[in-house]
């Protein structure tokens, strides 16, 4: 597969977070979003972050993406610049599907012919052949999400061109979709992940989705956000998978109810 990402470097961590703190605001209105997060993601690993609403999942991704600076702690990235898929599709409304997907390549100065070839590949990867000349507003919500997926893949692949590992940060990318489309896109994502070997940090509040997609599920508590627990859910199927969903779900409810008590 031409879009495969080489794992050229044998580093142990794709991302490493050590004692990460993030406080918004100052003085009496200060909000501690993250309070000492330690987390390491191996190259090519698929990690799902779950946690209640407002526990700092988006903040964590923004820190890794470099959109915010940590109040204290350290972030080590051995990967290329992470590709980010935001919760909203965040497509440029004035660009066609083709142009949206190739935007990261244009910004990186890739030539026209190569861009066109990549876009064709990515479009077929997300099964959107023939929509390249449409604009985002002419697409359905699910199609837009797939274009956003293709764009973040373009950006991941571009990043890995220098022989580093790729990393994708995904913030509840499928939460706004109907159940069937979500099912299909989850399958797409797994397929692409297997084909490309990029590391993925995937934020969701849907435990079922986390267990289905991830190799590892990390549970965050809220106010302040800390890592509460984590589970290895790699390759679980059938009854094992359901058990894992129940266990993690129970723990999540427990964490949320302690918030309610506090």
């Amino acid at each position: 597969m031409a879009v495969a990402l080489e794992n050229a470097v044998g580093t142990e961590h794709a991302v490493r977070l050590e004692g990460l703190h993030k406080v918004f605001g100052a003085g009496r209105q200060a909000v501690t979003a993250l309070d000492g997060i330690d987390l390491a993601v191996r190259p090519g690993e698929f990690v799902c972050l779950v946690g209640a609403s407002g526990c700092g999942k988006t903040t964590l991704l923004n820190l890794i993406a470099g959109l915010e600076q940590p109040t204290s702690g350290r972030i080590t990235l051995t990967t290329s610049r992470p590709a980010v898929m935001f919760q909203e599709h965040a497509l440029m409304p004035w660009l066609t599907v083709n142009r949206n997907i190739e935007l990261p390549l244009r910004l990186a100065g890739v030539g026209r012919a190569e861009r066109a070839a990549r876009v064709t590949e990515l479009l077929s990867l997300v099964r959107l052949e023939g929509t390249g000349r449409k604009r985002p507003h002419e697409l359905s919500g699910g199609m837009r999400q797939r274009v956003a997926l293709a764009r973040s893949l373009a950006s991941a692949i571009q990043g890995s061109a220098d022989g580093k590992h790729a990393l994708m940060l995904m913030d509840e990318p499928f939460s706004a979709l109907d159940a069937i489309t979500r099912d299909l896109l989850q399958a797409e994502l797994l397929r692409v992940w297997r084909a490309t070997g990029t590391a993925v940090v995937f934020v969701t509040h849907d435990v079922r989705e986390a267990v289905r997609l991830g190799q590892r599920v990390v549970l965050l508590s809220s106010r302040p956000g800390r890592v509460v627990d984590e589970w290895d859910v790699n390759g679980l199927t059938g009854a094992d998978e359901l058990v894992a969903v129940d266990t993690i779900g129970a723990k999540l409810r427990e964490v949320i109810s302690t918030h309610a008590a506090a």
Partner: protein
């Protein structure tokens, strides 16, 4: 509820080890969903009818206006030298066309306005970007630039005449002072309305300051920027007329403003009315021929217009 659970269980069994068959199924299912979901364009009205609907009402209004004018003139309510008949105006206008003078007036004024507008665009664009993105610049001169927008640019004519005399520089100066604030404010408004997520997308893709301005900010702000340009054009044209009317001198050549000025000096009402109509036509014409189509294309491309 139990049936739903059953379905998802079945899914789970196959999903973790996708086979060719599931991939095809997925294809089919996605295609089906897309066909259902994608908004459809709806029936289009025929081209002739659309053009008719756009052109006929204003023509009708113009005919009605001329008819009322003719009727008022026929009552001889005002003396002829104050209210000439539409026919007299047509004669004066036709005289200008026959001698070719009308083209000279139009050329002199329109090319000045266009040059002034282009220079204004060149100044207002970086100014607008700075105002929108640099807090200090906005705090320092933001209020001044919005304030200048409400200052009639005629007010600059005396100052410009004292600085530069009766020259082209004076005229361009007045045009710029009229147009630059509108265009810059339009761009600022356009940028302020950009969803904050878009510049962040640019940033995570590694766009620097200039790439961000070129690929994200300017195109995202285009609707507001265009609105500013449209207003900027109107202000350029108005300011130019004011400047030509006040700072009229033989060295400056004959534009529409001078024509109007001459009409006033000669107490020639038909000339004055012809001048006003020509000025109105140019302003409306450029708006309809240049800005309206560009705006329409821009908004359509973003799905911001419902037809």
């Amino acid at each position: 509820m139990p049936r739903l659970d059953q379905d998802t269980k079945d899914d789970k069994g196959t999903e973790h080890v996708p086979t060719e068959a599931t991939a095809e199924e997925v294809d089919g299912a996605i295609g089906g969903l897309d066909a259902l979901d994608a908004p459809n364009a709806g029936p289009q009205r025929s081209r002739a009818r659309r053009i008719g609907a756009a052109v006929l009402p204003p023509i009708g209004a113009a005919i009605l206006f001329v008819a009322v004018w003719q009727a008022v003139w026929a009552t001889a309510w005002l003396p002829e030298h104050q209210l000439p008949s539409p026919g007299t105006i047509a004669e004066v206008f036709w005289g200008l066309v026959e001698t070719g003078q009308v083209w000279e007036f139009l050329w002199t004024s329109v090319h000045r306005a266009v040059i002034g507008f282009v220079i204004a665009l060149g100044i207002a664009t970086p100014l607008g970007l700075l105002l929108a993105r640099v807090k200090l610049v906005r705090a320092a001169i933001g209020p001044l630039v919005s304030g200048l927008q409400s200052l009639p640019s005629v007010a600059w004519v005396p100052a410009a005449v004292i600085w530069f005399g009766l020259t082209d520089t004076t005229i361009y100066m007045v045009v710029l002072l009229g147009a630059v604030p509108s265009i810059a404010n339009g761009l600022v408004a356009g940028i302020d309305q950009i969803p904050p997520i878009l510049p962040r997308v640019g940033k995570v893709m590694g766009a620097g300051t200039f790439a961000n301005a070129r690929h994200i900010l300017l195109p995202a702000a285009l609707p507001g920027y265009l609105a500013g340009m449209k207003q900027g054009w109107a202000f350029s044209w108005r300011s130019l007329m004011a400047a030509e009317l006040i700072a009229s001198s033989p060295e400056l050549g004959d534009g529409l403003g001078q024509f109007l000025h001459n009409g006033m000096s000669l107490f020639d009402m038909p000339m004055v009315i012809t001048g006003i109509i020509l000025i109105l036509f140019v302003g409306v014409g450029i708006e309809l021929l240049v800005f309206a189509p560009v705006e329409k294309i821009t908004l359509n491309a973003r799905g911001l217009r419902k037809n």
